[in-house]
């Protein structure tokens, strides 16, 4: 299998992709969990792809990004490193702009029901 093509497809089909260790419901690495919690705060949908057991794909990812560690985050097909990069970007507002551009809209607001009506 050509992992480069698989990665290209995944980062094209999903506006936010996190390559990490474990899944959204069962992260298997503290940094992957931290990244999931980080994106939960923004309210946009994001995909977590587990590559813990897939060494060839991890190597393809490392080669593609010149970045040896997991997790690795892509937004709109572009590599953004990890929360060490995204954290400062969120603080100066750059990430919010990037996400709005990627999704073309602010995040969907969760519907609330007024019980006192």
């Amino acid at each position: 299998m050509n992992y480069k093509e698989e990665i290209e497809r995944e980062i094209t089909e999903n506006a936010i992709v996190v390559y990490g260790k474990g899944t959204k419901s069962m992260p298997r690495c503290g940094f992957t969990l931290e990244t999931i919690e980080f994106f939960n705060r923004f309210g946009y949908p994001f995909e977590v792809i587990d590559v813990l057991e897939n060494m060839p794909k991890r190597e393809a990812l490392a080669e593609l990004t010149n970045w040896p560690t997991l997790p690795k985050v892509f937004i709109n097909g572009k590599f953004y490193g990890d929360t060490d990069i995204l954290g400062p970007m969120a603080e100066n507002g750059e990430l919010q702009t990037t996400l709005q551009e990627a999704f073309g809209a602010p995040p969907a607001v969760k519907e609330t029901i007024d019980l006192h009506q």
Binding site: G30, F31, N66, W67, P68, T69, F79, Y80, G81, D84, I85, P88, M89
Partner: protein
């Protein structure tokens, strides 16, 4: 597992002027907070700055001497 000094040497092999701060997060000498200050970061994006440091740590990450790094880069002035 790696000593602070050896980790600093790896970074300085790529970034000779680097000031390196290391904190062992877990006491197991393989999960680190690393802060690097260097003039080499000037004019580079944050991603490019981190890529420079990761380039220096590539071997140690690959062979498992270093398992995880929380990295902070600072552009040295003057």
């Amino acid at each position: 597992m790696i000593e602070d000094g050896a980790l600093t040497d790896l970074i300085r092999a790529e970034l000779p002027d680097a000031e390196v701060g290391i904190f062992d997060r877990t006491g197991t000498m393989d999960h680190f907070n690393v802060t690097v200050r260097s003039v080499a970061f000037r004019g580079k994006t944050l991603i490019e700055q981190h890529q420079l440091v990761y380039g220096a740590l590539k071997g140690a990450l690959k062979d498992g001497r270093v398992h995880a790094v929380e990295l902070k880069t600072i552009v040295a002035e003057g």
